[in-house]
Structure formats: structure tokens, C-alpha cells
């Protein structure tokens, strides 16, 4: 530190905001875990909790992922930042008011997720499911967090910015960019919007976002936390500060490129897939550099790991990080990806990260901070150790069955007989095979939840026995003029210049995004158009929006990869040009059920009626939930004009004024489907009279439309009243 001033200033850290975020993380965490267990049980017993729409698998799965990522891990990040940042900068947070707005705003966002996702209000984009008004709220609250953080850094009493702070800065900057770019959408109604991107471009933007949500929400802030709390808990400096510099820049530079590895073998242009793979492989270097830097900090202190639950959670967390970041690059290699993608392997992979890395670091922080802000000792080290073993064994019992089941199922999908036919042509055979693994997974999850509950009890008792220090006193030398002592050069100098540092971080993360994304948007040859591909009819739009609302894409992909095992099973592989009107894209990322891209025309309408009412009636042993409410709930005709308008705004060529005619077309097509059902005696099921205004009719229309355009022999527009007027507008979207 500079010796220009000898005056010591006394100031107070705000422990209240730290405690609030800690409690929120723990409480939301438990809720998120329990929702996770609920959907795990629903995969074993599809009728678990009955067929209540708000509790159906497709609606709860996004609630689970959002709760764990944004409520559990999100609040944990702020818990770590609000504790460590003031202590590293020797100043309280800049504004207590902004801290409070940040806290309550973030909780309000989580509550709004709870109030929308189970009611079928979602955008379908993974980890970005929240609808547009909430997207705006997230942006505002995130910026408030950023202002508070940057201003705290500006007002610091410590000239040098410690490496943890760099990771916090990168988190703020990158998440802001990701969230805004992925949320460009045109509202149709108050709670429904369509993304401006379609098909391949939407997929690329979404997985650039989705991958980097993992990178910059679940990784970089936790690395910052690692760089602060491991030295604290081990009471020794980080193994190599120089390594941390290389770690930081290479990690943020490389990570941003890796998104396309989520789209290998899809209709995404090959060059983008290749870039994604190469950068994913390179990523192993900075990831492992960081992991080793964390673990080697403990050299000479390993004996303490046996006694201190904080260190136990940190060590297992960082080790899990190492495993996951080894797996990630391996899964990005095309032929490994061909086996693992769409399978439960990926579910195992992410839970390895979420339960042990994010969970481990979060619980380490909770066990570290709670006694300190309550001026007491941990209530019971023994209980913390019990929690540790429940968490670790729970994660193992979760992850290994998922790996096993995932690979088993995937190999069964690909198995051919000696005659060259699919060995398991019935998808269900591959599902029933791995049901024991789903059972083990639920046991693993239960163990983890028991552990977390023990942890919550221990922390509660710790708080009860201590007395809370609302404002913690500290003192440091007066504010140092950051311009002073600028003999330092280059990186050392940069480390005391927060704004330049933030700017450079922004440049570094933008490079990958721009080089990878812009060409896909610009170069038409990246998405070859197909003349016979036409926009959806109004009834199909309604069906598609129901598909989105019910979260069907959580279990069904719409992307047939160009493998013989897939074309045999599902039909012609998917082409980029087939998705040009898909706002949003619905390729999915997991096949709990079969791919649906060529489902159109595969079964009669009556099959869909029976299947949606009771999947086991057409597919014995199916674990798909039933959708009885689709037979009694009316479709939403009222907002059809607004939706047509919004879709036109994002580029679907519906003629001006079509919104006025759309309902007439919708009803004509619905009546047509209804008439067909009536003729076949399917206008009634189990005593329920089906009418043409029910949701099931729209779902059937959408199902029957999927993947048929390139066959060119069926045109759903043909029969509609405004067919001729409308179709004149449907020229292929080339500008040549």
C-alpha cells in the first residue's frame, strides 16, 4: 500500500445484505432441489401428483433449472460478492439502497418465475424461459448490481484489484451482453413474445447464451469466490498469482466461442460447429489451470481439510469443477458428442457441476460466513461433516446412474441388427431399459436434499446461538488516489484501473460472439432456403404455442441428425432451411421421448387424440404425462391477431391485414380436423366431448405439420379460405 497518508479511516461493512442473500440462496436452493426431485419422480411414475397442468413435467422442469441457476446459485453469487468485494476493496458497498433494491428486485424476479413458468408462460429457450416483462426487470436489476459493484470499486481504499474482483467484473459485463442479445424479442401480448431470430440463427444465439450462462453465471463468479475463499479458509495466499492472470484472460476469451458444441451434427453450418469444437478443446487449459491453482493453494494445509468442513466443500467443489471441465471438452469432440448428446449423460454432467461445484462452493461460503457474521462458532462441525457426506454421496448416486443410463440408451438408439435394421425400433424399449437408473437418480437427489436440510438446520442453530453483527467495523488508510504511484506498467497498472479493465474484458468477450454469430446472420448460403417451406397456419401457431407452454421441447427434440440410426428411426435428417419460420427454434437438447421433427403424417389424428389423453393407451409403458386438460381447455383465439402481427414483425411473411382473416382460417382448419375425428368416431374420449375449439385440435394441427414441408406433397394452406391471397406472399426468403 502507498504510504502517502497515515490516517486510518474507520468504516462498516453491511453484513445485513450478506445475510439476506445467504438465507435466500439456501431457501430457494431447497425449493429448487425439491422441484428437481419431484420431476425425477415424475419420470418414474408419470402420474405422480396426478395430471395437474401446473405440476406437469414440462412446466416444472424449467422451474427447476431456473430456481437452481438463478435463485440458488444466483443468490449465492451475490452472497459471495457482497461479502468479499467490500473486504477486498476496504470500503462498504457504495450504496445500501442499491444493495436493497438489488436484493428485493432479484427475489421479485424469482417469484415472478414461480408465478409464470408453472402456468405455461415461457419462451422455450433454455435458462432464458422467462417472458419479456421479466427479461426487462432482470436487465434493470442486473445493471443496478453492476453500478453498485463498479462504484464500490471506484471508491476503494485498496489500489490493487484482487483477481476475484476481475472475475466479478467479467461476470457482470458478459451476463449483461448475453441476456440482452438473447432476449431480443417482439411482444405479442403482455406475456407472450417471439424472438427476432429464427431457426438456425435462433439456435446459435440461444446456445451462445446457454453455454455462456454456464460460463459466466455458474463458472466465473464461482471462480472469483474460489480465489477469495480458498486462501481465506486455508489461511495462505493463492498458489500462483501469475497463473491466475493467465487463467482469467484465457478463460474469458476462449469460453465465449464454445457455444456451438451444443449444436454438433445439427443444421448449424459446419464451420461454426468446427469453431465450437476447437475452442471447447482449448478450454481445458485455462479451466484446469484454475482448478490446479485452487487445489495447490492447499499445499501444506491438507491436514486441515480433514477437520474443516469449509475446506472439504471447497476441495470437492474444485475437484468436481476439474472433472466437469474435462468432460466438457471431451463431449465437444464430434464423435463423443454423437453418443452423449440428447441423452441422460448430459444431465449427469450438469449435475456434477451444479451439485458439487456450485453447491459445494455455496455451502462452503455458508459455513464460512455464517459463524463470522454471528460472532460465534459453527453449531456443529459433526453435522456439517454429515452434510458433506450426504452431499457428496448424493451427487455420486445421481451422476453415475445418469452416465450409465445415458450411454446405454444412446447405444441402444444406434444399435443395428445384422440385417441392417434397427435393433430397438421402438423408442420405448430404450426408455424402459434405463428406468432403474432413473430410480437411483431419485435416491441420489434425495440424499443431497437430506444433506442440504441438515446444513440448513446447522446454520440456523449457529445463527441462533450467536449475535448478529449488522455492521462490521474495519479500518484502513484513507482513500488512495488511484493516479498515484503510476510507475507500474501494463497488467499491474491495469489491475488498478477498474474502468479500463472492464472495457478490455468487454472487448475480449465480444470478439468471439461477433466473429461466430455475425456471419450466420449475414451470409445467406449458411441457411439454404427451401421453396416448399411455408409459414405456419394460424391454428398451427396456436398449436406450437401450446407446445411451448407445455414445455414439450424439454423431452422431445426436433432435430434429426444425419446418422443412419436417426434417419432410419425418424426419417429424413433436418435441414437448416426448414426452420426459417421457427420463432423460436424448438430443436430441444434432450430426448426423453423420441424426436418429433418428422412426426407430421406419421400417425392419424385419432392416434394423437388417444396419445395425448393417455400416452400408455398407444404406447404401453410410456413415461410421458397425460394432458387431459387439452380436451377441456379452449384454445386462445383472441390473441391470434396480435400474434400474427408480432410474427410479421420478426419476419414471417404474413400479408398485411392477414390478422383480420386469421381466425377464419383457424376455424376452418379446426373444423376440418374435427370433422375427420368425428367420422372416425373420435369426437369423444372417456365421456369428454371434443369440440373444434379445444387445445387438442391445435396440437394435432401442429404435430401433423411438423417436417412435412420438404416432402412437398401436402400444403396445409391449400384448404384454407384465404389461401390464395396469403400464399402469394410466401416467396422463398432469398435476396439473390
Amino acid at each position: 500500500m502507498s504510504s502517502t497518508s497515515t490516517t486510518l479511516e474507520t468504516f462498516h461493512y453491511d453484513n445485513d445484505i450478506v445475510r439476506k442473500f445467504g438465507v435466500a440462496s439456501l431457501a430457494w436452493g431447497l425449493i429448487g432441489f425439491i422441484v428437481g426431485l419431484t420431476i425425477a419422480l415424475k419420470l418414474i411414475w408419470p402420474d405422480f401428483l396426478g395430471f395437474i397442468p401446473e405440476l406437469s413435467y414440462g412446466r416444472l422442469r424449467p422451474l427447476h433449472t431456473n430456481a437452481v441457476i438463478f435463485a440458488f446459485a444466483g443468490n449465492a453469487i451475490f452472497y459471495g460478492v457482497y461479502y468479499s468485494l467490500p473486504r477486498l476493496t476496504k470500503t462498504p458497498m457504495w450504496s445500501q439502497l442499491l444493495s436493497k433494491i438489488h436484493f428485493w428486485g432479484w427475489q421479485a424476479i424469482i417469484v415472478s418465475a414461480v408465478l409464470t413458468l408453472p402456468f405455461g408462460i415461457n419462451t422455450s429457450k433454455e435458462y432464458a424461459e422467462l417472458e419479456w416483462p421479466i427479461d426487462i426487470a432482470i436487465t434493470i436489476i442486473w445493471v443496478i448490481f453492476g453500478i453498485n459493484m463498479i462504484m464500490t470499486i471506484m471508491k476503494r481504499r485498496e489500489k490493487h484489484l484482487y483477481v476475484a474482483i476481475w472475475f466479478y467484473i467479467a461476470t457482470f459485463v458478459t451476463v449483461a451482453v448475453l441476456h440482452v442479445v438473447n432476449s431480443f424479442e417482439v411482444p405479442a401480448t403482455l406475456l407472450k413474445s417471439y424472438p427476432i431470430y429464427a431457426g438456425v440463427q435462433d439456435a446459435l444465439v440461444q446456445w451462445w447464451y446457454g453455454h455462456n450462462a454456464v460460463a459466466f453465471f455458474l463458472t466465473t463468479p464461482f471462480l472469483g469466490i474460489m480465489y477469495y475463499f480458498i486462501p481465506k479458509a486455508a489461511n495462505r495466499p493463492i498458489f500462483s498469482y501469475r497463473l491466475s492472470i493467465v487463467h482469467f484472460w484465457s478463460l474469458i476469451f476462449i469460453y465465449i466461442w464454445a457455444g456451438p458444441h451444443h449444436l454438433l451434427y445439427t443444421a448449424l453450418p459446419g464451420w461454426a460447429q468446427a469453431l465450437g469444437t476447437v475452442f471447447s478443446l482449448m478450454l481445458i487449459a485455462p479451466s484446469w489451470g484454475g482448478m490446479l491453482n485452487g487445489l495447490l493453494t492447499l499445499r501444506g494445509a491438507w491436514d486441515r481439510v480433514r477437520e474443516d468442513p469449509v475446506l472439504k466443500f471447497l476441495v470437492v467443489g474444485v475437484t468436481a469443477y476439474g472433472m466437469v471441465t474435462f468432460e466438457g471438452p471431451m463431449l465437444s469432440i464430434a464423435n463423443v458428442n454423437a453418443i452423449a448428446h440428447y441423452s441422460d449423460y448430459i444431465i449427469g454432467h450438469v449435475h456434477n457441476g451444479a451439485l458439487l461445484w456450485n453447491g459445494g462452493l455455496t455451502f462452503a461460503m455458508l459455513y464460512y460466513i455464517t459463524p463470522r457474521i454471528y460472532k460465534t462458532k459453527l453449531y456443529s462441525i459433526k453435522l456439517a461433516n454429515v452434510h458433506f457426506w450426504f452431499a457428496t454421496l448424493g451427487a455420486i448416486f445421481y451422476v453415475i446412474p445418469m452416465y450409465w443410463g445415458g450411454i446405454t440408451q444412446s447405444l441402444m438408439w444406434k444399435e443395428f441388427t445384422t440385417e441392417g435394421l434397427l435393433q430397438y425400433p421402438n423408442f420405448l424399449e430404450t426408455v424402459t431399459q434405463i428406468m432403474p437408473m432413473y430410480g437411483l437418480r431419485a435416491i441420489g437427489g434425495t440424499l443431497f436434499i437430506i444433506g442440504a436440510s441438515i446444513g440448513a438446520f446447522n446454520l440456523y442453530k449457529t445463527a441462533r446461538q450467536g449475535s448478529f453483527v449488522m455492521e462490521e467495523e474495519d479500518e484502513a488508510q484513507a482513500v488512495i488516489n488511484p493516479a498515484e504511484g503510476t510507475k507500474e506498467k501494463w497488467h499491474r497498472r491495469l489491475e488498478s484501473k477498474p474502468l479500463q479493465f472492464t472495457g478490455l474484458t468487454l472487448v475480449v468477450i465480444l470478439i468471439g460472439g461477433i466473429i461466430e454469430y455475425v456471419p450466420t446472420a449475414l451470409v445467406d448460403s449458411n441457411v439454404p432456403t427451401i421453396a416448399s417451406v411455408k409459414p405456419y397456419t394460424p391454428l398451427e401457431i396456436e398449436g406450437r404455442d401450446i407446445y411451448i407452454a407445455e414445455g414439450c421441447n424439454n423431452c422431445h427434440s426436433q432435430m434429426i441428425r444425419p446418422f443412419r440410426s436417426e434417419t432410419e428411426r425418424y426419417g429424413e435428417y433436418s435441414k437448416a432451411g426448414e426452420f426459417v419460420y421457427d420463432h423460436p427454434f424448438l430443436w430441444g437438447s434432450k430426448r426423453t421421448g423420441p424426436d418429433l421433427h418428422r412426426i407430421g403424417g406419421k400417425y392419424p389424428d385419432s392416434w394423437h387424440v388417444r396419445h395425448m389423453y393417455d400416452p400408455t393407451s398407444t404406447s404401453p409403458g410410456s413415461i410421458m404425462p397425460a394432458y387431459p386438460w387439452m380436451f377441456t381447455d379452449d384454445m386462445d383465439k383472441e390473441s391470434i391477431p396480435a400474434r400474427i402481427n408480432a410474427l410479421r414483425k420478426v419476419g414471417v411473411p404474413y400479408a398485411e391485414g392477414y390478422e383480420e382473416l386469421a381466425i377464419r382460417d383457424l376455424e376452418a382448419q379446426a373444423n376440418d380436423i374435427m370433422e375427420g375425428l368425428r367420422q372416425n368416431g373420435f369426437d369423444e374420449i372417456e365421456g369428454i366431448q371434443i369440440t373444434s375449439d379445444k387445445q387438442i385440435i391445435a396440437i394435432i394441427a401442429y404435430m401433423q405439420r411438423l417436417g412435412i414441408d420438404i416432402k412437398g406433397n401436402v400444403n396445409p394452406w391449400e384448404e384454407l379460405p384465404s389461401s390464395e391471397r396469403i400464399q402469394a406472399n410466401f416467396k422463398p426468403q432469398t435476396e439473390e
Binding site: 490493487h160 498469482y241 501469475r242 484472460w249 460472532k375 462458532k377 459453527l378 499491474r492
Partner: protein, 63 residues
């Protein structure tokens, strides 16, 4: 609209190469710089998280 602006740029193909060289240069430069400066140059920075060890609260709760 922006499509035409970008398409009209001449020799746009060289930009990726320039950025590759720049970034490669950055990382090589960074590593050389870190080696040249040596370990001790960062002694004070790496102790930053540990500096509040004498803070009142920490002492009281030290187990």
C-alpha cells in the same frame, strides 16, 4: 441494411487473421511479461484476501 454495409467492406477476410495475430500476441506477450517480472512482483497483491485477518470480527470467531 447492415448486411449491405458489411458486405461492401473490402477484404473483410483479413480481419479474422488480424484478430488471431493480435490475440495470440496478447497471450504470448502476457506470458513473457509474467515470466520476466517474476513471482515476487505480485507478493503484495496475492496477500490481499488475507489482509483483514486482524479484523475484530475474525479474531472473535476464530475457531
Amino acid at each position: 441494411m447492415y448486411k449491405y454495409v458489411l458486405r461492401a467492406m473490402e477484404d473483410i477476410g483479413i480481419y479474422p487473421s488480424i484478430s488471431l495475430i493480435l490475440f495470440f500476441g496478447f497471450f504470448v506477450g502476457l506470458i513473457i511479461y509474467l515470466i520476466v517480472k517474476g513471482k515476487d512482483y505480485w507478493k503484495d497483491a496475492e496477500r490481499l484476501p488475507l489482509e483483514d485477518d486482524d479484523n475484530i470480527n475474525f479474531k472473535q470467531s476464530e475457531q
